[in-house]
């Protein structure tokens, strides 16, 4: 039941904020803050009550809610949470609270409707991370899309209408492919078993002909790689990120992209393990392409927000690379990357927003030497730029190191190429610091350093990025059992090459000559 509450508090808060907006302009933001804080505290209370996260047996859900919805079609209102959903929900609620605080003074028009949309996006995202019924999942997938369209289209910057359309078309078209795949899966499974259902646990064991499985897998993957996004399906992202209001960018980078990654881990791979394995070389290549191409484009930008947007493409490339490496090390790296990227890129977007509020432009050419007037903001930006380039001690390093370490077991070539991303990320991250905060000071009249509200936003993000970088143990524990579940279909053959996800199989490799091990990987 708690799972339902987590979502309904957000939805109800959104409706209430909309209504209150007609009475008083400042009520909606307080209502939104209260609603996000309420669901966040409910979530925290639940998270701390779970005894020994990660100790759960495979297949165990930490919490579950199942009620019939449209029984005639086998649609259920089925929500469930495991360690993976738990982490992503945590990210959702933290980001949600921060997004409300970020919008505090920035949004002045149609405030009520704004917070309604914000709340419903969050509710949709929370639903996506919890839904275990494919129909319900698609429902929430759409719930987060439409309000985001409004958020960009109404409260965005100069080119907002174009960006909103582009975002909508990309997501909708690819989402449709997924919906077709869901329906196909529903009917095929229904015909062979006589049980017409959208229920995920039921569908997990569906027997599919190889070719069919491959096409259905592609249908799902289409929606997720667009959302992730992977090159060459990334074109909506720079426009949407750049034109969205700050909170929109924070949610886009921090959460929406993560739904793509979550979808791959939760649906694509468990539902179609064999097809996914056949597709792995292509997926890894796309991942590497995203890393390098995204980094190159980020370096080229002159619009600061666009620059940060392209870094997301580069960082999410690691997710795609790791997700198709099929071993626990890479998977843990992917999970940390989802959290760390959400925080570090979110923080960079917030800093861009702060700068834009002060100087009313995002053009890098108009910036320089801001450290002198705003050392606090400069130091914070430096920290998150360093996180973005993968400095050890910060979360992104753990993520990228684990991802590459895991990917190395699957493909040395792609890993070596992906590692070039470490060099390019240094190039673009330091360029941000140089062009904005270093260099000769630009004469700008009004450059106050971060204020109390802004520090309140930044402080938890700083703490979180250090926490993920220095003590990721709790996160790794929480994700452990769910990831092993996902990897279960691959476990058998993995253990034969000494990288068993089950136990410390690596000790096996000590007895085996390296060449023989490599042969097994290649013959796969």
């Amino acid at each position: 039941m708690i799972l339902v509450w987590l979502i309904t508090i957000l939805m109800g808060g959104g409706l209430l904020a909309w209504g209150a907006g007609f009475i008083n302009r400042s009520w909606p933001r307080w209502i939104a803050l209260a609603a996000t804080l309420a669901s966040f505290s409910l979530f925290l209370a639940f998270a701390f009550s779970v005894p020994g996260i990660g100790l759960g047996q495979p297949g165990d859900w930490l919490a579950e809610y199942n009620a019939p919805w449209i029984p005639a079609f086998g649609v259920q209102f089925h929500l469930a949470m495991d360690g993976l959903s738990l982490l992503l929900l945590g990210l959702t609620f933290i980001t949600g609270v921060l997004a409300v605080l970020v919008s505090w003074t920035q949004i002045r028009e149609r405030v009520g409707f704004y917070y309604f949309n914000l709340m419903w996006i969050l509710a949709g995202i929370a639903g996506v991370f919890l839904a275990l019924d494919l129909f319900l999942f698609y429902f929430f997938w759409e719930v987060m899309l439409v309000p985001m369209y409004f958020l960009i289209g109404i409260w965005g910057y100069e080119n907002r209408i174009y960006a909103a359309y582009k975002f909508f078309l990309f997501t909708q078209a690819s989402g449709l492919l997924m919906f077709l795949a869901i329906l196909a899966l529903y009917f095929i499974h229904g015909k062979t078993t006589g049980n017409f259902t959208f229920d995920y646990p039921e569908l997990l064991g569906a027997e599919l002909p190889t070719r069919t499985a491959f096409w259905l897998m592609l249908g799902f993957l289409a929606a997720f790689v667009v959302k992730l996004p992977a090159v060459p399906f990334h074109n909506w992202l720079p426009d949407a990120h750049t034109e969205a209001p700050t909170a929109g960018s924070v949610i886009l980078a921090g959460l929406l992209l993560k739904t793509g990654a979550y979808g791959i881990l939760r649906f694509v791979i468990p539902l179609f393990p064999e097809a996914a394995r056949d597709f792995a070389p292509t997926a890894m290549a796309l991942g590497v392409l995203s890393i390098l191409y995204g980094a190159k484009l980020a370096f080229a930008q002159t619009d600061l927000k666009r620059l940060v947007a392209y870094t997301s493409v580069s960082h999410m490339g690691f997710v795609l690379l790791g997700a198709f490496a099929f071993n626990i090390i890479a998977y843990q790296g992917v999970v940390i990357q989802l959290l760390a990227h959400g925080i570090s890129t979110g923080a960079l977007f917030i800093i861009v927003g702060c700068i834009q509020e002060r100087i009313h432009t995002r053009d890098i050419g108009q910036m320089g030497g801001f450290w002198q007037k705003m050392p606090g903001m400069g130091a914070t930006a430096l920290l998150f730029a360093l996180a973005s380039l993968g400095l050890p001690g910060l979360g992104n390093f753990v993520a990228e190191f684990l991802t590459l370490l895991g990917a190395w077991q699957a493909s040395i070539l792609w890993t070596a190429l992906a590692a070039l991303g470490l060099i390019f990320s240094a190039v673009y991250s330091l360029r941000i610091v140089q062009r904005v905060f270093h260099g000769a000071p630009m004469a700008k009249p009004n450059l106050p350093d971060l204020n109390v509200r802004e520090w309140l936003i930044m402080a938890p993000m700083i703490l979180l990025i250090f926490w993920l970088g220095l003590y990721p143990g709790p996160v790794l524990n929480s994700a452990d059992a769910p990831l092993r579940n996902i990897l279960a279909p691959f476990a058998k053959e993995e253990s034969s090459i000494g990288i068993a996800p089950e136990e410390d199989g690596l000790s096996l490799s000590l007895q085996k000559p390296e060449t023989e091990k490599r042969k097994v990987i290649n013959s796969k």
Binding site: N235, K296, L297, F437, G473, P501, S509
Partner: protein, 628 residues
């Protein structure tokens, strides 16, 4: 006492934290003394730990302390653990003690700088990271320190951030070393795949059992680790960032770009010697790179006019000696040269800094001169450091460490006469450019009156380091002189000894004589060309202008990299700023739009047109049916 080991890196980090968070509320003096005091405390602890280690060595001559589990995934479980053995002990002593004196010096040197607090915060961050690097018990934690020192270096090179050139130098340093670091990261992946752990002592113990000498994986692992070492230690082909790194304040150059960080590569290779010994071809490569670098950088040092750039090239060259020693398998000789080099090169940088400060931030040696009477303490200490750099026989530390390397280049099991000759030629050049530097700075006519005399906080570090530059070498004597082998005995618990060809033993004295003669020849060249007959230097400069420029610009590496990497990348970035893949989708949208226009044209509203359409359509359908 040993259980306080963790405090040695923790205190500088704490100092950084205090300065970063409370910095703005602290008075300037307090900030400077917090920054210096934290390193002093660390140094004190390091000395106490060292005494305890020597008086009652822990079991197996190694002490390990685990703070917490860092990452734990399926057998990959690095922890935040420190590992103390004789090798890391040498390094932490140098880092903290030399670091402390450089901090002390900085209090006066940075006195008037508005960024004083930021300076000490960054310096403490750097020292903490450097100590983590050398104390790490796993390669992952070492990588943390490794990147951390890179960050410290970046921040301090670009310390005067308002000047864009400094920012460029800082980024150049960071990115070039990152190229090496990335290779190193790949090396870690390879090692983990082979050994199932990144714990250093486990790997070094398991490697000889798992790999035969020359094993392809061992070669790859050594090569990739070498990549990291080349970047950090500014060796060929990743050396070009170091001369530009001189944009930072002079104490930074002394600490980071002379005494500590740039020797991290030496530490890495010495630490992973077990892997390198299994890859003889890579060992040979290390020696060749070392020899080539020491010559290239030496010739460049000979032509510089900026005193700091002379010292920068000299540092590259001296680290070349260390790499030469590593490649020869003379592990302890390499560390010994690091040990003495840390004293005399830090001293030379600090001395240069004192001169620069006195001359209104003038770096050009040709605008100095005649300072020896005006700045006696600086002069005499600088002279001591220069003697050590030139390896003046018997009385300086540099002689003992360099002589050892030359001896092993000749007589060591992996040595050969070519490597020895390169080392000898390098010694000649070193003596020559050292003499040139001293003469141009302190002798001849005074071109500018120094207006600021160094105070006591600058003098103390100079004097202490000068004393160490003289006596630091006495802990290890050549075999034929005295049976003093404190240093190699000390390191013997961590690093294997090198074998010497018995038949060549007798030639040791002759070689020393030759080395001494070379040094004096080099000094004489410097004296002759720059003090006795300066017009000769000028005419040589004129007749070999092209060569001079070539050496002056560091053998054209910057020129080459600019064309090979930077320009293509920026060009690619510039032409594709708008993202070419966007055209696919724009074309898709445009195509749809034109289809819409085409189809909407059919909606003319004229009956004739519709009737025609129906007729043609019917015809086509009937034909199709008939055909099938």
């Amino acid at each position: 006492m040993l259980e306080n080991l963790w405090l040695i890196p923790a205190i500088p980090f704490a100092g950084f934290f205090i300065l970063a968070v409370l910095g703005r509320r602290l008075p300037r003096v307090a900030a400077a003394w917090i920054g210096t005091g934290s390193i002093g405390l660390s140094a004190l602890l390091a000395i106490l730990v060292g005494i305890r280690y020597l008086s009652a060595p822990p079991e197996g001559y190694a002490f390990r302390q685990t703070l917490w589990q860092w990452i734990e995934v399926a057998g990959f479980s690095p922890s935040i653990s420190f590992y103390l053995d004789s090798l890391s002990l040498v390094f932490i002593l140098i880092i903290t003690v030399v670091g402390f004196f450089i901090h002390l010096y900085s209090i006066e040197f940075m006195e008037a700088d508005e960024g004083l607090k930021r300076f000490f915060a960054y310096m403490n961050l750097f020292v903490g990271a450097m100590l983590t690097l050398v104390l790490a018990d796993s390669l992952v934690l070492m990588y943390l320190g490794w990147e951390g020192v890179g960050l410290g270096s970046y921040l301090l090179i670009g310390f005067w951030y308002q000047e864009p050139a400094n920012g460029y130098a800082a980024r150049k340093a960071f990115v070039m070393t990152r190229v090496g670091d990335t290779a190193m990261a790949l090396g870690l992946f390879l090692l983990f795949t082979s050994f199932g752990t990144l714990d250093i002592s486990t790997i070094t113990a398991a490697a000889p059992q798992q790999w035969r000498p020359g094993d392809q994986l061992a070669v790859w692992a050594a090569l990739l680790l070498l990549g990291g070492a080349l970047g950090k230690s500014a060796q060929l082909p990743l050396q070009t960032w170091l001369p530009d790194a001189m944009a930072g304040p002079t104490p930074v150059s002394a600490l980071i770009h002379a005494a500590t960080m740039v020797t991290a590569g030496v530490y890495l290779i010495a630490r992973m010697h077990a892997v390198f010994e299994l890859a003889p071809s890579v060992m040979a490569l290390v020696a060749i790179i070392g020899a080539a670098t020491l010559l290239l950088a030496g010739f460049s040092a000979l032509t510089q006019s900026d005193i700091k750039r002379v010292l920068a090239y000299s540092t590259i060259s001296q680290i070349g000696y260390m790499f030469l020693a590593l490649g020869l398998g003379a592990w302890s000789a390499a560390v010994f040269h690091f040990f003495t080099h840390a004293f005399f090169k830090a001293l030379l940088f600090l001395g240069a800094g004192a001169v620069i400060l006195a001359m209104h931030h003038e770096h050009d040696m040709f605008k100095m001169g005649g300072l020896w009477k005006k700045m006696p303490v600086t002069f005499w200490t600088f002279l001591a450091g220069s003697g050590a750099l030139a390896a003046l026989p018997l009385i300086t530390a540099g002689f003992y460490s360099k002589d050892q390397i030359l001896w092993y280049a000749w007589a060591g099991e992996r040595g050969n006469s070519w490597l020895w000759a390169a080392g000898m030629l390098g010694a000649l050049i070193t003596a020559a450019y050292t003499a040139r530097m001293v003469i141009l700075t302190f002798f001849g006519d005074m071109k500018q009156e120094p207006d600021k005399r160094p105070g006591v906080l600058i003098k103390i570090p100079l004097i202490v380091l000068a004393v160490l530059s003289i006596i630091g070498g006495f802990v290890e004597m050549p075999h034929n002189m005295a049976a003093v082998h404190l240093f190699s005995d000390w390191l013997g618990t961590a690093l294997p000894a090198i074998h010497v060809e018995e038949s060549l033993q007798a030639s040791e004295f002759l070689l020393q004589l030759a080395a001494a003669a070379t040094v004096f020849a080099g000094l004489f060249i410097g004296y002759w060309f720059y003090l006795r007959r300066p017009e000769l230097a000028a005419s040589a400069h004129r007749s070999f202008a092209g060569l001079h420029r070539f050496w002056f610009q560091g053998w054209g590496f910057d020129w080459l990299y600019e064309r090979l990497f930077i320009r293509p990348f920026t060009w690619l970035a510039a032409v594709n700023r708008a993202d070419v893949t966007d055209y696919i989708y724009t074309a898709l949208a445009k195509g749809n739009e034109s289809l819409y226009h085409i189809f909407s044209r059919t909606q003319t509203g004229q009956l004739r047109w519709y009737a025609f359409g129906i007729g043609v359509g019917a015809l086509i359908i009937i034909t199709l049916i008939a055909m099938s």
